[in-house]
Symmetry: C2
Subunit: 216 residues, 2 copies
């Protein structure tokens, strides 16, 4: 199994958490997003979306899109499960996951940040405020949903880590990259801090990956 990865990619971070939780360690191939290597023809041949992560399973199956990859991993390598078994619970976990994957994260990826600068003349400060705004709106919605629903447990859905926790962790670690915080969202903070204390999740942190900047 191989994964195309980059330390700073939040989508890759999600898949890395899932792999770690399942005890899997694919070979890593770095695609330097900051240097634009995802645009190279040889990578576009792997993924025409020019995005990571891409996972290649041992039988050659090539997978992209973090949510699709994580659901695949959970179907093919079901221990430990990262999804509940009942349709309503699965829908809740997927919906919570999508609040990051389909609502907030797409707005702050590198191609959007650079497009805001070139198309609308956005300054770096304006781009940071844009990212803070959308990730912050997502946090408000997470807090409202998680705090009011009795299906919330130690984690987003009951007392086991699911894909919803993985997505929420990527959201909250992501907001720190844009000088934001999740400290003022108490239910979110309780869950994310518990997740980050898990060894498999802690080890997946972007700043612990090859190529990441060293702490000052």
């Amino acid at each position: 199994m191989k994964i195309f990865t980059f330390w700073r990619s939040l989508a890759t971070y999600r898949v890395r958490m899932a792999l770690n939780l399942k005890g899997m360690k694919p070979e890593e191939i770095t695609v330097d997003l900051f240097a634009g290597h995802q645009m190279k023809p040889e990578f576009a041949a792997v993924n025409p979306m020019k995005a990571i992560p891409v996972l290649i399973d041992d039988d050659g199956t090539t997978l992209h899109q973090s949510m699709a990859i994580m659901e695949y991993l959970d179907e093919k390598y079901p221990i430990p499960p990262l999804m509940p078994r009942d349709p309503a619970g699965r829908a809740r976990v997927r919906a919570l996951s999508m609040m990051t994957v389909a609502d907030a994260h797409p707005l702050v990826v590198p191609r959007i940040r650079s497009d805001l600068a070139s198309r609308f003349g956005a300054s770096p400060e304006q781009v940071t405020k844009w990212a803070q705004h959308w990730l912050g709106s997502g946090l408000d919605a997470y807090e409202a949903m998680l705090s009011r629903d009795k299906a919330t447990g130690d984690y987003c859905h009951g007392d086991k880590i699911t894909l919803a926790d993985i997505c929420l962790v990527s959201h909250c670690v992501g907001i720190r990259f844009f000088e934001g915080t999740y400290d003022h969202h108490p239910t979110v903070k309780r869950i994310v801090d518990l997740c980050l204390a898990d060894e498999a999740i802690a080890r997946a942190h972007p700043l612990k990956q090859p190529g990441a900047p060293k702490p000052a």
Copy 2:
């Protein structure tokens, strides 16, 4: 079963196609997105994301996020199936779906279009170009993926309609709302035109819903 809906919402359109294909007809409750009714406190109590669709199943289960709702419908009401059965096929269908749901569509929803205007002073023409650009990039990626992969059949994945087709149709009908076209993407066009000839899909079209503008 009840659905909170609006004729122009592409996410609701996706769920409506899935419901029609499964022969289900929930009671419809209109949330006028153009009038900002999704921001009203009584709707925010239903969905703190202030977004539609929201589906309420007969047992009171409240669901949001188009992809999560469609997967739920397919798990709970499996005939006809809208997902393949093998993990690799399911991952491919999900990844193709996410190209709309998680890559392109989040960039062109009303809250983003109005934020571009207020935050960066984008003119209506610039907002239209923004939408054309991101939906167009998505079409290029779809064409590259669908044309090269032998898993593509009459439809996106083999010879049956799946969630990938539903998402692609919403993408292509969506680009027309922004004065764009999918006519120059031959594999996409072949598949979407075949889908639009399906009675259940045709009936779900935004312009056929209550409140939609009448043809001139």
